[in-house]
Amino acid sequence: MADCLSLRQALRVSVVVHYSLTLNNQLTDIAHLNESIESFSIRAGLNQRLSLQMKVVLDEIVGNIIKYGFTDNRNSSGKINVEIAISSDTLILIVTDNARFFNPLTQSRPDLSSNPENRELGGLGIYIVGKIMDEMQYQRIDGKNVLTLSKSIPDESVSGDRPDSKTI
């Protein structure tokens, strides 16, 4: 599957903790996503701050796909796959969808120099994502949008023992 390939390509190293979830193109499915982020964070020993940052990032990305990606075929089988992985102290999020072609990285940045009260807010979500995550990469693979986001995990974000070298 393209998802697995892209994950391996992105990591190039062994995955310590890995979680994968497929959502339908319905906003209510974001609740399932948030539950998954919580259970993943507990398993991986991540603190609440990083867990909340993941929720914000994935809300922006997945919410955008659901709201705008499937507008041409609202009733068709829109699927969004979210993978969360940790490898070598890096958090990696991969969002794959079969919506129409959309590269969020080419969205124009909101003009932060002007007073936000007067500006339009297009691109604000992806801007926030870019500030929280360290790197973003977009690929079109096999007719799917694949967005790979990574962030090095600050030392203080990990609590307790993290399982080593095994996939759970």
């Binding site: 906003l27 209510t28 974001i30 609740a31 948030n34 701050r49 909340l52 940052q53 929720k55 914000v56 809300d59 922006e60 997945v62 919410g63 659901i66 709201k67 909101p110 932060l112 007073n115 936000p116 009260e117 807010l121 604000l124 979500g125 801007y127 926030i128 500030k131 929280i132």
Partner: protein, 113 residues
């Protein structure tokens, strides 16, 4: 997410128990704008029970603020957790909204010209 609206004299305090995100922002917007239609002018957004805020939540704050400003009203924010404050900071919202550590400070500030 649950919206709790409390009036203290002329100030409306709005609390969001949960998150202000893509799913919940439309409901928050409806409830707040209904109160504006009913005449609320000074609104304190109390994030004390809010887990996180995303850009969809920020848009609600902005719409609320723009509408109230036209009517001589105002919005103040308070008690956001680290994540809430981080998103407000990143997005430039702290340039137009005042965020206070306590509800009391936000309530004192919101009615001041």
């Amino acid at each position: 997410m649950k919206v709790i609206l409390t009036y203290t004299e002329s100030i409306l305090v709005a609390q969001f128990n949960g998150s202000l995100d893509t799913v919940t922002a439309p409901e928050a917007e409806t409830q707040l704008m209904n109160k504006v239609d009913e005449g609320a002018k000074f609104i304190v957004i109390d994030f004390g029970m809010t887990e996180y805020i995303a850009s969809s939540g920020l848009r609600v704050l902005l719409k609320l603020s723009r509408t109230l400003k036209k009517q001589g009203g105002r919005v103040s924010l308070c008690r956001g957790n680290q994540q809430v404050q981080e998103v407000l900071e990143i997005s430039g919202f702290l340039q137009i909204f005042e965020h206070f550590p306590t509800l009391e400070e936000a309530m004192n500030s919101v009615t001041m010209a």
